[in-house]
Each structure stands twice: as structure tokens, then as C-alpha cells.
């Protein structure tokens, strides 16, 4: 960090944009006022696979207000240049209205553009599409997998054969959808060959490059604006086909077009966490020292793109063991393409590994925490690299103390309160500390206020606030005199707002830009004969509350305002950047947690009710404690949903999702989330990034589902290896 005093970083601030949000002044994608905007509504395919044989748009086009119905028979051919840089997985992305193929149930097959939303909606329901339907393949268990990705060290099969204790377990996890509160929405406006879109996106730069690729434009001809995002969880990390539809409709009607997905359409092609079938074999000695693990897992992907996520890493580095074999296969299905969802990959792997560790602990009669301690590695055995920081033992110790773990009777089904069986479980969690190149620009104005810009996103974690805190300290200003702007592709580019890398990457760029501006000001002062700081060594000057002064003599100094006014400067400005060190990493970077859960299970009715969840996090430095708590509690709620409720259900007969709405796709409500608590180990990761942060948003969800599953076992003696855990599994 800088030598500056840290007044803002670490302070439990409320959101700087909170007032805008609660007073409705924060404009989300669909709320921007764009003169002359008309409305578009997508028509979804009614089959799960096949060809479109006819499209009858007569009734829709006859409707007053309907301007145009676009579909594959009248839409222009679009360039669809290759673009590997926008979170597009390998494959051939879905090209809207470019052919007659239906690749999944609910695929966009037409769009109705009308002067009112009502006319567009009604028009969409009047478009009659004829199909030549084929039998879709949507069942992970039935379809043919792709060639596997593999990993091996040692000889796991041989080690398993000679292992004193062996577990052979199969887990299944349900498909989950992100379900942010704000639906996807886009407003597209053309001005000649220049395109502006207001979009719900977690990456304005990614949407910009994708639209440029699809329409064959220079990147600079596309501007993407996204100042507020009403939740994302990963669904807005990619520029999905509906964004192209909006831009295409705007071009064809020569009008700005607004397109908002319905809640149902949020399940039809804006990504999801794929369902897994995960077979794990684990071997250990009699003391519980792991000797081998064989991971064989199959995951859903679409027929046209191969989506993979980091589901292997945890199995390679979380515990010490000489022999590991992994086989990861994607299974192409007639579904839309999955996309990263909170804690991608690690979430699934952690459910499996941590459930299995609990089984092993029970089998051996060893305390689950003690078993994990016995398998704590001294370095990252997948790479041989030292850990930057790995404080999992402390997480266990703090968590056990805070949760009252030692009071737990290890015997399953031993604690009862009336009709309820009480159980306590725990799990370890891990998520990699990602960092990517990012830029920011800082400007200090003559009035002593500052403006910092980056093309970043705030989908809820509080980017506006935490970046302001970093900027304020680096500039020596108060939070109130610093404005951080984001969500515009005209600002300096940043990586995707995902993978918990925003604080490390954008934050470090912000820090760099602001440090540069502060140093410029200091240099200006110490070289200015009229400044009280004239002749002082720059290193001996700090800035506090907008006033530069000698570190050791606060009386000797002057304000930014005076300095700039006297020097006739309207402003000072600097570009900042961050990039992780080039070349191979010298450390293994991960965040860790220990998560504890207490559940009550109705002994006869099978209902699982979470009573409390505690997470203890080794996440590096916490910039904004209040926002960190929001993150952590939200992650726990997500984990409870994954464990007990969330499940996208497909009718394999025709590939239809049968619960594509928030009444039938269940997420936790307030009554389901009573007592949640987060604790952060004090400290920082000096190797990871200049701010010392490790990322938090993903980490806080990981470990919750296995902790709950393990608590259910402790309560009932029943081991459930399929998520979500439902009443019928426990009857």
C-alpha cells in the first residue's frame, strides 16, 4: 500500500450510491430514457430441437403499433466475426435469425418490434411458428460425453487398491439459474454505423467487443453503458443473443429499441450452473491421511459450445495426497450454453469433496476438523508453489470456537428437540484469487474534488464504494470529495466483473492512478518556490483531507486547491494500470474459508430448516467491511438455496424447462435464513496484488452446501449425495 494514512479503506461505510438506489434514481438498463425508443419482444421456440418450417407473422403485423417482425427468413446475414475475447466458450455461438435450426427449447426464433410494450407482447403471442421437431437430448445421464480433460499425479488407482480405507461415492448436483432481481435488458440505438447500447452487463468491454464482432464493426464504433446492475451472479458476464437481437431490431427499424427479457426468458439462454454427475473415490490410511483420489465427473454443456469451469483445481490442491486422477467430461445436450455462476466450479467440487471428507471422518471416527488438519498441505501439490497465504487452520480454529463446535456430540441422530433432529456440520472452502490487467483514470480538479473512471461494473458488491475508498486514501481526500464512475466502455478498460477479481484488479489500477496524481501534486508543491513545501523531499509529504503536508510536521503544508490555483492548473490527471506479474506465477493464490451450519430436520416429515450458518474467511484485506458482510450473507443465502431448494427442472420429452419462474424455481425467502454470521481473518495477501485482497464474492458461497449436507447427516444419520436435498430424500 501507499504511505498514505488509511482513513477510508477498512471503514464500514454505507454504499455511496445507496441513496440513489433507495430513491429510485439509480438507472438500470431498461430505465434509461432514450428518445423515440420502441419495444421488442422475443418469440421463443416451442420445440427443443429441429427445424423451423414456417413462420406466419400476418396476425402480428396487422396489429396496430407493430413495426416489424424479424426472423431467419427476413433478417440480414450478420458477419459474426470470431471473438474469443468475450467469455464465448469454444464452439460456434448461437447466431440469431441466421438459420432455421432450433437448438434448444425456448431459443429466440423471431422478434416483434412495436411502438408499445403491450403491442409487442401481444404481437409475439400471435406469431405462428411451424416446426419439424426432432427428439432433443437433455438428460446428462443418457447422452454421449465429449473427450475428457484429465489430470494425474502419482498412481491413484494403485494407491486406492492398497488403501486401508476406501470410499466410492456418486454425487449429483442440480442445474441452477442465476436469477438476479433485475432481468436482462438492452436498449440499442444506432447513429449511422455507430451503435450505443444500454445493457445489463458485468463487462461493458466484453459486450462492446462482441457486438463489434457480430455486426462487423470497429470496436470503437460500439459504446456500452451500464452504470447499475441489479444483481448478476455471472449471468451478465457474456453478451447473449438477446443483446444482438435488440441491436439488430434497432438497425432494421431505424429506431432505438428496448428489449427486456421476461422472467421466463431468463431461463432460456442467459447461462446457468450446469448439472453434474460426480463420481469420487477416496483412499486413506487408518489415521485418515489421504493417499489417493479419483474424480470422474460429467457436466452439461450445449450442443454448439463447450463450456468448462474450474471444477478440478480444488481436488488437486485442497488436501495433501500423493495420488490424484481426474477425468472431466462435458456432455453436449440440446440446451443453451451454461455460464459461470457464483463460485463456478469450486462450488460443485467443494460440495463433493467436503461431503466425502465428512464421510471419511465419520467412517474413521475422527473429528471432521481434525481430519482436515491431518491433510493440510505445506505447499500447492498441483504446482509445487508455495501458498501466498493459506490460513485454513486459523479459519477452523476461529470457526470452531465461535460456533461452539466442541459441544457437538459426534454421534449422528443424537440431538433432538421435539419433532426436530438437530445437526451440525462444517466444510472447508477454497476459491482462486484471480487478477487480470485493468486500467483506471484519475483526475484531481482545482476545486479539490476528484473523479476516477474505469469501465468496471457494480452488480451489487459495492464497486462504487470500495473503489472510492481506495481512491480517497491514495489521493488524501475524504470519501465525499471523490466520485468513482464505472459502467461505460469509454472509460479505461477493465476485466469482467466476475471471478472475484474486481477489487484486486480494478482496485489496484485505481490505486495506481490516484497515487500518480498525488505524486504529481506533491512534486508540483515541492518544486514550487511559493509553496510552504518547497524543497521538502517528496517522500516526506503526505496528503490528508485534501491538504498536503510534511509527514512529520502537519503545520507545514497547503491544500490541493491552493496549490492548483496558484499554478493555474485546472486539474491534474493520470492513467493507472494493474497487471499481474508476467511469466509463471511464483505463488499459489487462493482464498479459503471454514463454513459451519446447524440444521433442524423434521424427523417424520423430512423438512430441513437451516438454523444458523457461520463463515470464517481468509480473504486477504477487507476494504469495505459493511459491504463484505453484504457479500458474505448473500453468498450464504445462495449456498442455502443450492443445498436445499434450487433446481432447474427439464422435461426430457421435449427439452422444456418446467419451472422457469420464481414461483416454481425456489430460492430462499427470509424465513429460510435465520442466523448468518461472517468473520474475516485480519490480514492481507502481499503477494497477490498491491491492495492485498484475495476476492470475496465467490468464496463466501463455497462450503455452505456441503456444511448443510454434513449437518443433515449429523442430524439424521442419512447421507444425501444429491442436491438439492428435498423432503422425499429424508422420509
Amino acid at each position: 500500500m501507499s504511505p498514505q494514512p488509511q482513513a477510508a479503506v477498512g471503514a464500514p461505510l454505507s454504499r455511496v450510491d445507496g441513496r440513489l438506489k433507495v430513491t429510485g434514481q439509480a438507472l438500470y438498463a431498461a430505465e434509461h430514457v432514450v428518445d423515440g425508443a420502441v419495444h421488442a419482444v422475443i418469440v421463443d421456440s416451442g420445440i427443443g430441437r429441429g427445424r423451423i418450417t414456417s413462420i406466419d407473422t400476418v396476425a402480428a403485423e396487422a396489429l396496430p403499433g407493430v413495426l416489424k417482425v424479424l426472423h431467419h427468413r427476413n433478417a440480414p446475414k450478420l458477419p459474426y466475426r470470431d471473438n474469443s475475447g468475450s467469455n464465448n466458450p469454444p464452439g460456434r455461438r448461437l447466431r440469431v435469425f441466421q438459420d432455421d435450426r432450433v437448438r434448444f427449447h425456448g431459443q429466440p426464433v423471431a422478434v416483434v418490434v412495436a411502438t408499445t410494450l403491450e403491442a409487442a407482447q401481444h404481437g409475439a403471442s400471435l406469431v405462428k411458428v411451424g416446426y419439424d421437431a426432432e427428439q432433443p437430448s437433455t438428460d446428462l445421464a443418457e447422452a454421449e460425453p465429449d473427450e475428457p480433460t484429465t489430470y494425474a499425479r502419482g498412481d491413484a488407482e494403485a494407491a486406492l487398491r492398497s488403501a486401508a480405507v476406501r470410499l466410492d461415492l456418486t454425487y449429483r448436483t442440480a442445474r441452477n439459474h442465476h436469477n438476479p432481481m433485475e432481468p436482462h435488458a438492452t436498449i440499442a440505438r444506432w447513429n449511422g454505423d455507430k451503435l450505443t447500447v444500454w445493457d445489463k452487463t458485468q463487462w461493458v468491454v466484453g459486450t462492446q467487443t462482441e457486438l463489434a464482432a457480430v455486426f462487423g464493426l470497429d470496436t470503437a464504433a460500439v459504446r456500452v453503458i451500464s452504470p447499475f446492475v441489479g444483481g448478476g451472479f455471472g449471468t451478465a458476464l457474456r453478451c447473449w443473443p438477446h443483446v444482438v437481437v435488440a441491436a439488430l431490431a434497432a438497425r432494421e427499424t431505424k429506431r432505438p429499441v428496448k428489449l427486456v427479457l421476461s422472467r421466463k426468458q431468463m431461463y432460456l439462454g442467459t447461462g446457468f450452473r450446469p448439472s453434474y454427475e460426480y463420481h469420487l473415490r477416496l483412499g486413506s490410511d487408518r489415521r485418515g491421511r489421504l493417499t489417493a483420489a479419483v474424480h470422474e465427473l460429467d457436466a452439461e454443456t450445449s450442443s454448439y459450445e463447450t463450456f468448462t469451469e474450474s471444477v478440478l483445481a480444488a481436488g488437486q490442491m485442497l488436501y495433501s495426497m500423493p495420488n490424484v486422477t481426474q477425468r472431466y467430461r462435458t456432455v453436449p445436450l440440446d440446451l443453451p450454453t451454461p455460464l459461470y455462476m457464483r463460485g463456478p466450479g469450486f462450488q460443485t467440487a467443494s460440495f463433493v469433496i467436503e461431503s466425502a471428507m465428512d464421510e471419511l471422518a465419520h467412517r474413521l471416527g475422527v473429528d471432521p476438523i481434525e481430519l482436515r488438519r491431518r491433510n493440510e498441505p505445506s505447499d500447492d501439490e498441483s504446482s509445487g508453489l508455495p501458498f501466498s497465504t493459506r490460513r485454513l487452520r486459523e479459519c477452523y480454529a476461529v470457526g470452531a470456537r465461535e460456533f461452539g463446535w466442541h459441544r457437538r456430540d459426534p454421534e449422528p441422530r443424537a440431538t433432538r428437540e421435539g419433532d426436530w433432529l438437530i445437526g451440525r456440520g462444517m466444510a472447508a472452502g477454497v476459491y482462486d484469487t484471480a487478477r487480470m490487467p485493468a486500467q483506471a483514470r484519475a483526475r484531481l480538479d482545482a476545486d479539490g474534488t476528484a473523479l476516477v473512471d474505469a469501465a468496471a461494473t457494480d452488480m451489487g458488491p459495492g464497486t462504487y464504494t470500495s473503489q472510492t475508498q481506495v481512491a480517497a486514501d491514495a489521493l488524501g481526500l475524504t470519501v465525499r470529495t471523490v466520485t468513482f464512475r464505472l459502467g461505460d466502455s469509454l472509460y479505461p478498460p477493465t476485466p469482467p466483473h466476475g471471478g472475484s477479481m474486481t477489487m484486486a484488479s480494478v482496485g489496484s489500477a485505481t490505486l495506481d492512478a490516484c497515487n500518480k496524481v498525488r505524486r504529481q501534486a506533491i512534486r508540483l508543491a515541492v518544486e514550487d518556490r511559493e509553496s510552504p513545501l518547497y524543497g521538502v523531499a517528496a517522500a516526506d509529504v503526505v496528503v490528508r483531507g485534501g491538504r498536503l503536508h510534511m509527514k512529520d510536521d502537519p503545520t507545514r503544508g497547503e491544500t490541493y486547491r491552493r496549490l492548483l490555483a496558484r499554478n493555474d492548473r485546472t486539474h491534474l490527471e493520470a492513467d493507472g494500470s494493474f497487471a499481474p506479474p508476467s511469466g509463471p506465477e511464483r505463488h499459489s493464490f487462493y482464498g479459503y474459508n471454514a463454513t459451519f451450519a446447524e440444521v433442524a430436520v423434521d424427523a417424520t416429515l423430512g423438512l430441513v430448516r437451516v438454523r444458523r450458518v457461520l463463515g470464517v474467511y481468509d480473504a486477504g484485506r477487507i476494504i469495505s467491511p459493511k459491504l463484505a458482510d453484504s457479500q458474505a450473507l448473500g453468498g450464504m443465502v445462495g449456498g442455502i438455496g443450492t443445498a436445499l431448494l434450487e433446481h432447474t427442472v427439464t422435461d426430457h420429452r421435449d427439452g422444456r424447462i418446467v419451472n422457469a419462474n420464481l414461483a416454481d424455481y425456489l430460492v430462499p425467502v427470509n424465513a429460510d435464513i435465520p442466523d448468518l454470521k461472517a468473520i474475516y481473518l485480519d490480514g492481507e495477501d502481499r503477494e497477490a496484488d498491491p491492495l492485498g485482497v484475495k476476492g470475496l464474492g465467490e468464496l463466501v458461497m463455497i462450503g455452505v452446501a456441503p456444511a448443510i449436507a454434513n449437518a443433515v447427516f449429523h442430524a439424521t444419520g442419512r447421507r444425501i449425495r444429491e442436491l438439492p436435498i428435498t423432503a422425499e430424500a429424508l422420509l
Binding site: 416451442g46 403491450e118 407482447q121 401481444h122 403471442s125 419433532d419 417424520t604 416429515l605 423430512g606 423438512l607 430448516r609 436445499l644 431448494l645 427442472v649 422435461d651 420429452r653 422444456r656 418446467v658 419451472n659 414461483a663 416454481d664 425456489l666 430462499p668 425467502v669 427470509n670 424465513a671 429460510d672 428435498t726 423432503a727 422425499e728 422420509l731
Partner: protein, 326 residues
């Protein structure tokens, strides 16, 4: 949503006139408007009846309770008489939907509520209830939440209301007003099992309007309660539910009223369970033996087999909760 015309009835006569001409009555709108958005419902004319004087809860001459059709779920649940006389009703109401919906939804609308069957609610799926003759996608489809009782090959959708289960248990009567005058229908006859005509859900004549639900007086002391078993703790429909009301006098069960929800194509009265209880002394063994009959006649489907056992356990639990003893 398809275009429709909207009128607001100034009085009952105006409402009935509009209803006779094919207008659909609109009260809280929590089902109808929702389904109109999905284009499952495509009424040409909506008749807003929220201005009609049907919002009173009154004690009848015989000591029962008459709940006006336009009383909201939250009003009924909070009403002192409902709470003291029929806890099974107030509990069922409080466990319904969400606070926002309970503030909008009405008693009349609640018993008219249409099924949550996802195939019914998806206009691209086959559904005999929505489109007679098109088939039932749920029968061999995803049917975890569907009915195990009162089903037919044409339809296996559950009736979603909680309050209706309490009304069925208590043998309420539905007050109707139509072009030919007023009449009353026993609750058991009001909601129709699907048979071969799942599109016909209520014994309503054209243009008829529900004016009230009347719950008969019950001998004192009468204990009652409602148990709802569901995946999450709030804002969710029942996997199973049980409405139980018991009159115990001299240590013997003199009257027993039991119905189940979440399992039937209509709120499912359990006369077999009731008969088993009558004349017996409350005991854990009795609850268990009576509840064993709760799923008699059940026809489970591929994904809802668990409801057979869950239903018995739900009824047993609620008999114990209401009847005491262990």
C-alpha cells in the same frame, strides 16, 4: 396479454348483467391477471367487482361465520372471530402465498384459484384443462407436485388453495348469486374433480357470482389447526397439508373434520380418517391408525410417490397437534 375490455360494476345487478354476457369477474386479480400475462387466460371482458358490498365477516344466526367473497385473505386471517372460532382457517390463510398477495387476494378468488400445474401455465404445452382434448403433459411428465387423489387420465393437477382445504374440512357452504337468484352449494360439491372435463372446475352457472363462504357452527369446545408441509418456509405451495378440527367431549372424539391439501385435484376431504376417529379416545395410536387411511385410493405418479407416505405423516402430525397426546 391479449387485449380485453374492462368495466367496473357499480352494484351487484350491474355485475350480474355483465357476467351474464360473458364477462369474467375480477377481484384481487392475483390469479387471473397473472394467467392473462401468460396468455393462459384470454378473457374478452373483465368485470371489476371490488366495489360490491361483499367485504363483511358476520356471525350467522346459528353461530357460524359468513365471510364475504371480497374479504381479503389478510383481513380474514386477522379477524378476531375467525381466529377464535376457526383457527384452522386463519392458519391456512396465514400460510398462504406472501403478505403482498394476501393483501390483494380475496376469499372468493382464493377458492376459484387455478392450478399451479406448470404445463397448464405454459401455453406451448398440452393441457386438457386449458385446451380440452390436447392431452395431459403432466401425467407422464414432471409431476412431483401433482395430485395423487381425485385424478383422472385427463388431469392430475392439484387445487392450490390452503383456505379451501380448511373450508372443505369444515363443510362450509358457498353462497352464490346468479341471474336466476341466490343459492348455496356445499363446499364438497362446489369444486369439481377433473374426470373427463378438467376444464370445468366449479359448479358455477353462467354469470354466477360467489357472494360468501359460510362456515357452519360447531359444538364447543372445538379445536382446530392447519399444517402445511412445503419445500421452503414461506411463500410456497403445499407438498401436503392437513386441516384438522376435533370436538372432544367426555374424553371421546364426538366430531372430527379432516381434509388434506397439495394431494388432491380438489381439496381432499378424508371421511375414512374421520370415521376412524369418531367415538374413540385420543391417543398416539389412534392418530397413527386413523392417518394410515389418509391416502386410501391414492394413484401416485412417477415423481410424487413420496406424497403417499408424506400425506399420512402430515395428517398424523396434525391430529396429534390438534388432538393432543403423543
Amino acid at each position: 396479454m391479449h387485449p380485453f375490455s374492462y368495466t367496473r360494476a357499480a352494484d351487484t345487478r350491474e355485475a350480474l348483467d355483465a357476467g351474464r354476457r360473458g364477462g369474467r369477474y375480477l377481484a384481487g386479480g392475483t390469479t387471473l391477471v397473472d394467467l392473462m400475462r401468460e396468455t393462459v387466460e384470454r378473457p374478452e371482458t373483465l368485470v371489476d367487482i371490488t366495489g360490491l358490498p361483499l367485504s363483511e365477516i358476520t356471525v350467522t344466526e346459528r353461530g357460524g361465520l359468513r365471510i364475504g367473497a371480497l374479504v381479503t385473505l389478510s383481513e380474514a386471517a386477522a379477524h378476531a372471530k375467525v381466529r377464535t372460532l376457526y383457527p384452522v382457517v386463519s392458519e391456512a390463510l396465514e400460510l398462504s402465498a406472501s403478505a403482498q398477495l394476501r393483501n390483494m387476494a380475496t376469499i372468493g378468488g382464493n377458492i376459484m384459484q387455478r392450478t399451479r400445474c406448470t404445463y397448464f401455465r405454459d401455453v406451448t404445452a398440452d393441457c386438457n384443462k386449458r385446451e380440452p382434448g390436447s392431452g395431459c403433459a403432466a401425467l407422464h411428465g414432471v409431476n412431483r407436485t401433482h395430485a395423487i387423489l381425485g385424478t383422472s387420465d385427463a388431469c392430475v393437477a392439484t387445487h392450490p388453495s390452503d383456505a379451501a382445504v380448511a373450508f372443505a374440512a369444515l363443510e362450509a357452504r358457498v353462497h352464490l348469486l346468479g341471474p336466476d337468484g341466490a343459492r348455496q352449494v356445499p363446499f364438497a360439491d362446489f369444486l369439481l374433480p377433473p374426470g373427463r372435463t378438467p376444464q370445468r372446475e366449479q359448479a358455477l352457472r353462467k354469470g354466477e357470482l360467489i357472494t360468501a363462504v359460510e362456515i357452519p357452527a360447531l359444538p364447543r369446545p372445538f379445536r382446530s389447526g392447519y399444517l402445511k408441509v412445503r419445500d421452503r418456509q414461506s411463500y410456497e405451495f403445499a407438498l401436503t397439508s392437513a386441516a384438522v378440527a376435533l370436538h372432544v367431549s367426555g374424553g371421546v372424539i364426538r366430531e372430527a373434520k379432516v381434509a388434506a391439501g397439495g394431494v388432491g385435484t380438489v381439496p381432499w376431504k378424508l371421511p375414512g380418517v374421520e370415521r376412524h376417529l369418531l367415538g374413540e379416545r385420543p391417543s398416539g395410536a389412534l392418530w397413527s391408525a386413523a392417518a394410515a387411511k389418509a391416502a386410501d385410493g391414492a394413484r401416485p405418479l412417477q415423481h410424487n410417490r413420496f406424497k403417499v407416505e408424506l400425506l399420512k405423516r402430515t395428517v398424523e402430525r396434525q391430529l396429534r397437534v390438534v388432538g393432543g397426546t403423543t
